[in-house]
């Protein structure tokens, strides 16, 4: 019964929920992706962008309209959910009301005919990790919402040999303190057992702290796959820039003026991007508020702004200023003195991203 964990390949997958429609709308546009064995992935995106559809395709609850899924090079597209050896945790607790906590946790193992000793051992290990040991004999329906979600989570983790554990915003109902601890637990489980974890969320902090690889999705499209650092520093589209980071990336309409320079409202900004073939075209310049520095006097790559608001967040200050009708936000250290009225902000060229047609140049 011992199966190996698997590398998961999604090849040319696309899906529509109304296939008979002559012009179907696609919940997932064609994409290919590989989930390496034993890694942690986060799928990040706004509601309705196709995250859940993607998980359901992998677990077999939804059959993709097109494309193929392979576990370790073996096609599983036509395999039923129960034969796929996937664990999935939903957003809201799904528990077997009529069973005890122990029976809930043991259920996936019993269905797959594990031995009694093995079941006992695994249930104990999982209930210890999730702090459920003292409830094992209580009826599952008597527990609180977050304990119930722990049971769902436990049922996902109880099988060591699963190809992957798919989690669909599993920590929504859990209080922040426990959330933090659980995320760390999940990380430990992943490191210890080398279980592939796929975690769907719309919370970027959750994604950033949890995953090694983040998959950003928007409107059925995979926009960017990368490390948290890449997503933050070099968002591939303006959407990723807006979606990741708080506050969102500063994005300005601008015109290309030379090979490496763009103009915003007559101010020339030097970038490290090669803009040779975009001369005089309208582009967008993006820069994170974290990378904008306060400059003492006007120099190259500075813009002059009129300060409109200073917000103190405790560990940093957020400056909001206006250059003409453009709004610029900048995060500065708390201790830094902020001059009143007008001030100069420096845009480091290596941190400036230029977007043509919403895509990074």
């Amino acid at each position: 019964m011992e199966e190996q964990m698997a590398k998961i390949d999604l090849s040319n997958i696309s899906h529509t929920y109304n296939p008979i429609d002559p012009k179907p709308t696609y919940a997932l546009n064609p994409f290919s992706m590989t989930w390496e064995n034993g890694k942690r992935y986060a799928i990040l995106g706004p509601s309705g962008c196709g995250k859940t559809t993607m998980l359901n395709i992998v677990s077999g609850l939804v059959r993709p309209s097109k494309g193929e899924i392979l576990f370790d090079e073996t096609p599983v597209t036509d395999l039923k959910t129960e034969d796929r050896n996937i664990a999935q945790v939903f957003q809201f607790p799904v528990i077997y009301n009529t069973m005890t906590v122990y029976d809930n946790l043991a259920f996936p193992l019993r269905c797959r005919e594990f031995t009694k000793e093995k079941i006992e051992e695994r249930v104990k290990a999982v209930s210890d990790t999730l702090n459920l040991s003292s409830f094992l004999n209580s009826p599952a329906r008597k527990l609180t919402a977050d304990q119930k979600q722990l049971i769902s989570l436990g049922r996902g983790l109880v099988r060591e040999d699963v190809a992957a554990v798919l989690m669909d915003e599993p920590l929504t109902v859990i209080d922040p303190d426990l959330k933090f601890r659980l995320r760390r637990n999940l990380k430990e489980i992943n490191e210890q057992y080398k279980t592939t974890l796929v975690y769907v969320t719309h919370d970027q902090n959750e994604a950033m702290t949890f995953a090694e690889n983040i998959i950003v999705m928007d409107q059925g499209e995979i926009v960017q796959v990368g490390l948290p650092k890449d997503l933050f520093e070099k968002p591939k589209t303006t959407f990723v820039g807006y979606f990741i980071g708080s506050p969102a990336m500063n994005i300005f309409h601008s015109t290309v003026s030379s090979d490496h320079e763009v103009k915003i409202n007559d101010t020339t900004i030097k970038t490290n991007s090669n803009l040779g073939n975009l001369k005089d075209k309208n582009v967008k310049l993006g820069i994170r508020s974290e990378f904008i520095e306060l400059a003492e006097k006007e120099k190259s790559n500075t813009v002059k702004i009129k300060l409109t608001r200073v917000e103190d967040f405790g560990n940093f200050k957020l400056l909001t200023g206006k250059m003409g009708d453009l709004v610029i936000k900048s995060k500065v250290e708390r201790e830094k003195p902020i001059p009143d009225g007008e001030l100069n902000l420096y845009f480091p060229p290596e941190k400036c991203c230029v977007y043509s047609d919403e895509k990074l140049v």
């Binding site: 609850l61 999935q88 799904v94 077997y96 009529t98 069973m99 996936p108 269905c111 329906r141 049922r155």
Partner: protein, 282 residues
Amino acid sequence: MSKLYTFLKYFFITFWTVFVVAPFLWAVSTSFKDFQSVNSKVTYIPWLDFEPTLEGWRVLIKSPAKGGVDIVEPYFNSIFVTCTASLISIVLGTLAAYALSRFTFKAGFVRNNDITFFFISQRIMPPIVLSIPFFIFLSTIGLLDSLLGLVVVYIVLLMPIAVWIMVDFFNRVPKELDETALIDGCNPYQAFYKVVLPNSIPGLIVAGMFCIIFGWIDFFFAFILTFTEVQLLPVKVVALNSSITPWWSLSASALVSVAPLIIVAFIVERYLSKGNLSGALK
């Protein structure tokens, strides 16, 4: 204002209780009377107003040859027909309801909701409309005036109730529950009977209760589709009436006919008040 409200509240509760309970008390009291005490003057209280007798009850189990009416056989006939038809209706109805709740059916313009409505529309029709087709149907297959024929007809009458209640119930059981069971390694049948069904016991109890009540109280079809071979309890009770109404045995038989329903009501009420239903419906 609040005093008036309290007064009115208790007044109407008392009024309603008397309205509901009085006929029962009347029946209980009458069942212990004899011809004399029923027909002479108005009497209420046993031993004071009249001398109680068990004659009204005794005739119920006495064979007609000995001057009794013998409702024992019709009683067991009713139990058999009601329980068999209810059980089959619940089993078939639950399976149908699960399918209607979880799968999408399309046939022309017909969708799941239309099919559910089609089931319940059987109950919307006045029973008289169904009586002639049922009569012809049963006589064709040779089941007229037989217990089996009644069971068949009652299944047709009770299954819509089971389907209707269970569709609504299954719709409230999140489909993630089935999906989780599939992910945990059940096949669809196991997911149904290991996970969904145990979660639906309250629904099954309510559906079962309705089936038993509607099956037990039916007079119309039992009257039309049986003659001499078999008799169900409601028909037998009505048949007790003759030129001189035997109020005492009529009351006694009425009481024994409602007894099973009172027992069912108590069991279900206990179950309801334990909160088992509300928890499952969340």
